[in-house]
Symmetry: C3
Subunit: 424 residues, 3 copies
């Protein structure tokens, strides 16, 4: 449960709001590099933290992220000509470079030098790990670019996608750090379950949630048939990342997510899939591309909205639900999450919920976020900006009951950057 005031603070991220200002201190994943496939390709609309922006890749391969609207008479630069080192408004030919500088103003006499007095809002962009990152905060506060395992692996080892989620970002985060719901929403029936699969059927894990320099370390343990605990360890990295434990640590494919506010009522749901040690096979990649993967879902052509969405009840199949092969009747883990998270309303009213012990991580995460936002207002530094500190991994492991997971999984949870050759 959260007071209406705290819920407002947690969920509103426009410029000037406490959470909006906090988020503007971090690098923001804005879009996939491949969404701007070549120099001078067509621009892409990106709304971030309530700001309507246009991304483009200029002739020199530099990515710019500008205010969507030309400062002259506010026509959308989406219709702009991307050519010769800048994006040109088609209304009167004003042209801006990737830094927002007005580099041509052919509708004004050259002698007026009006051009030098005009610029457009722009945010610095960096490309790393297949992602265009931007920084929307005060210039002198720009931190280092964050480093995740998924941005370190070679391009061949990873597949990322982003899509619109029609809810406030925090509903996504709550699902991401909630190890309990996998026993229900994502339950599968296994004919011959492994001990791990068997353990996951226990929907009432005990949580140990620790605040860290970078966010939260969340251990969820389940009883097994023998002496061990089965531990699922989720990493929550400020301000919106969740590194999801694989079912077993032998699983090759790993998963992370980010939920980046588009505006208060929608967010960008990012799914990061990667294999640390090996390339993603072509059939698997093809499945991901086609939207037939658990996390990478099919999108309505020309949009970033899933084909399964709230207007069609996520194409729920009641026969499939009844069969118990699929707990919800909704296809795909990603769409199962979307269904429950979006169905609670675009901004869930947390003053009326009833939280239990299995919501421990969520309760702490809300507090961490709210405290960080309030702390920033009081002049405290935002947590999680030290790149060295966020080099962590999720893990799952069977451990003897007398071994604390922080110790038993210590090695698994370390990210050694030296293991990777930078991918870009």
């Amino acid at each position: 449960m959260l007071s209406k005031e705290d819920n407002k603070l947690l969920t509103e991220t426009d410029k000037g709001t406490p959470m909006g200002e906090l988020f503007r201190r971090y690098w923001v994943p804005a879009l996939l590099s491949e969404e701007l496939p070549a120099p001078d390709c067509q621009p892409v609309r990106v709304t971030l933290l309530g700001e309507k922006l246009i991304a483009f890749r200029d002739t020199n391969n530099q990515v710019g992220l500008l205010d969507e609207f030309c400062p002259h008479r506010r026509a959308s630069l989406f219709f702009g000509r991307n050519e010769e080192g800048g994006l040109r408004c088609v209304y009167h030919g004003w042209k801006f470079d990737a830094c927002g500088k007005c580099v041509d103003m052919p509708s004004e006499p050259p002698e007026s030098n009006f051009k030098s007095k005009v610029s457009i809002k722009s945010y610095p962009c960096r490309e790393f790990g297949g992602i265009v990152w931007t920084y929307m905060g005060p210039e002198n506060e720009m931190p280092e670019l964050p480093v995740f395992e998924f941005t370190l692996v070679p391009e061949s080892h990873r597949f990322f996608s982003r899509r619109i989620q029609e809810s406030n970002y925090f509903q996504g985060i709550e699902g991401g750090i909630d190890s309990s719901h996998i026993s229900f929403l994502h339950r599968r029936v296994h004919d011959n379950p492994t001990p791990t699969q068997k353990a996951v059927e226990n929907g009432a894990p005990k949580f140990e949630v620790g605040k860290t320099d970078y966010g939260l370390l969340i251990g969820a343990r389940r009883e097994t048939k023998d002496e061990n605990f089965y531990w699922r360890i989720t990493q929550y990295v400020m301000p919106w990342y969740a590194l999801i434990p694989p079912t077993t640590n032998q699983s090759q494919l790993r998963t992370g997510h980010a939920w980046v506010p588009m505006d208060n009522e929608n967010c960008w749901h990012w799914s990061f899939s990667w294999i640390p040690e090996a390339p993603i096979s072509e059939p698997m990649r093809e499945n991901m591309r086609a939207g037939r993967h658990e996390l990478h879902t099919e999108l309505i052509p020309g949009t970033l909205r899933p084909v399964q969405n709230k207007d069609n009840d996520y194409l729920i199949d009641r026969e499939l639900q009844r069969s118990k092969k699929n707990y919800s009747g909704i296809r795909g883990i990603g769409m199962q999450d979307a269904a429950v998270q979006e169905s609670a309303g675009v901004i869930v009213d947390r003053s009326t919920e009833k939280l239990g012990t299995s919501d421990a991580a969520i309760i702490v995460a809300r507090r961490v976020m709210i405290n960080a936002a309030k702390g920033l207002e009081k002049g405290e530094a935002p947590p999680g900006l030290d790149v060295e500190k966020i080099k962590v991994r999720a893990a799952s492991i069977m451990l003897s009951k007398d071994v604390p997971f922080q110790e038993g999984a210590a090695e698994l949870m370390k990210l050694r950057e030296s293991d990777f050759v930078y991918s870009s």
Copy 2:
């Protein structure tokens, strides 16, 4: 004409409003029994009086009507698993029975006993006459279930449907008790009109409107070629029922309606068709099912919205209108009503209308409704809760001019429950 204040009082029915509190003292027709065709079938969304609810039929055939949103983290129970005596949220497996009791909470350790502290808002349901009725008011004020002729006849003798009307409920009621508009909106051309048909062409009936224990008794008389008056007698039963007079009392098929607020801007339009003495023939029933009947219209598959709707101007056919075979050019009495009622705006501004003598029933009905709502606030009992008193019928009859309709039609207007074997 109604003041803006009275119009607001008349049209707003959310919890806490005067009219909303009044309506919560009556049993509400929530959905058709057949919409929940079998135990453990899929749940159905029903919004009533501004409250989003989920109806389901449990393993033991009991119908439950719960808050749509799980009290835990507010996921919609529409996606829930309906199984083994309750509806289970797919997010974390919390399960509620038809009374709203939490009967399973597998995401929490059993020892916490959190389950016993949690329940979900639920409304008692009863099935009678093919309808699921619910009661949304204070427990100790629950009245008896209402009894109408259409709920008494055997299943074979009746056909009911409900659909969304995209207007406030009271615009529907106004049409339902307005005997005058049938001479226009629903006018038909008859090659050899009967005396009754001839009489109905007179669009200026004289109204006699009497307040009763249960609502209003509305007599509308028209001159005929001879000594008689042709009387059409509508029964308005609190809080939202209209029993419509048949064209002649020899007509076998009878009609009633209810307009139940969904929210302030939409209502559930119910159409009740029945033949007191005989089964509905299979061809007629098939027409009704297929939406080819005057009152039971075709719906957009998967929805309760008519195929003819305001977005397509109810598929008005101007040639048909010009031909005079159909006064409005709109097919179906139900859709003719929807067109004029919805076209006035979702909540008609009654401060700007101009009422005549033919609006007598409407004027009194508004006053009855407003007084009942205000009366309840002052502690007065709502009218029409005495089941014995609502056992009435609509009628149409030719009567000598010197016979008051209350006398001449007295027998026709009585509903004798003993004539029927209870149908469920």
Copy 3:
């Protein structure tokens, strides 16, 4: 740049607003005469200045423009029967003539004479030049009907269309008097450009903007290869007309526009095409009718919304844009304008724009409009109501640099009504 207050004053046109009251002093082009093709044809919805209205042509060929909603119980007269000298509401048969008088009220007893106490809001209409004009202001302030060249030419010489523009009207006007943007938004590549075509490539014309009795006389001059200036002279006629200069004055086809507020967030975009001296050829007229012309665009059947619209990014073709054969990649001058004007938002926030010298006409036009609205509040007469004064023409001409355009183009800019036989 405009203050938020002035922007509000400029853009809001509902009854009672300063600009709304100003506009109600002028004749308003409401619809095309051909939209009401015959006596007793079906009525047409027209929203003007925030008022929902219904136009119909009565049995005697007179056009009426009434409140959309029947004064009785507010049903829409769109569904009305248009017959025998009036429009009849299908709900209860109340019938109104083109002047708004209630001429039949069959739902009331004749003796009540209620009919004589009821009328419906109606606005006087006149047909001239293929257009139905209406006047929505105080009766005693009705001016003469305006006279434009396009309303004087024979029917064979003209083609008009109207469509919805999904923005405030003033964004349309700003585009219409903005001679600079044609060098960009509407740029074409010519293999062998004429001197005029060459001149138009100069996107930084010098503006001379003069206030006149009727609005603004806007001269935009461009340098040419030789001694001359190439002048494009736009006429802005109060309150919403722009007469567009042809590329050369030898062009036969001439163009004018009007942007008439529908409500604050939408307007009617009128395009007037005509050839003063000759009929429009059948192939050209066929292109216009089919929506394949630069200005007369294809509409979604049954609506006045363009097929190219903001929901599909005006069907922008990025390959075409890249080819430079079409600067924006959007087909049709009209749709190019719509794209930039609508993309700035339904009501552009003029407090954040950056205007240059090429925006001179726009700056003056805003001031003229605002002053006229404020002037009316102080009792001053609206400008441009003297029909003799608005008899002007747009022009384009090459002039020696030492000749003021007001002199050099004086003859071209005069409209001699005596040249025309009235067309209706």
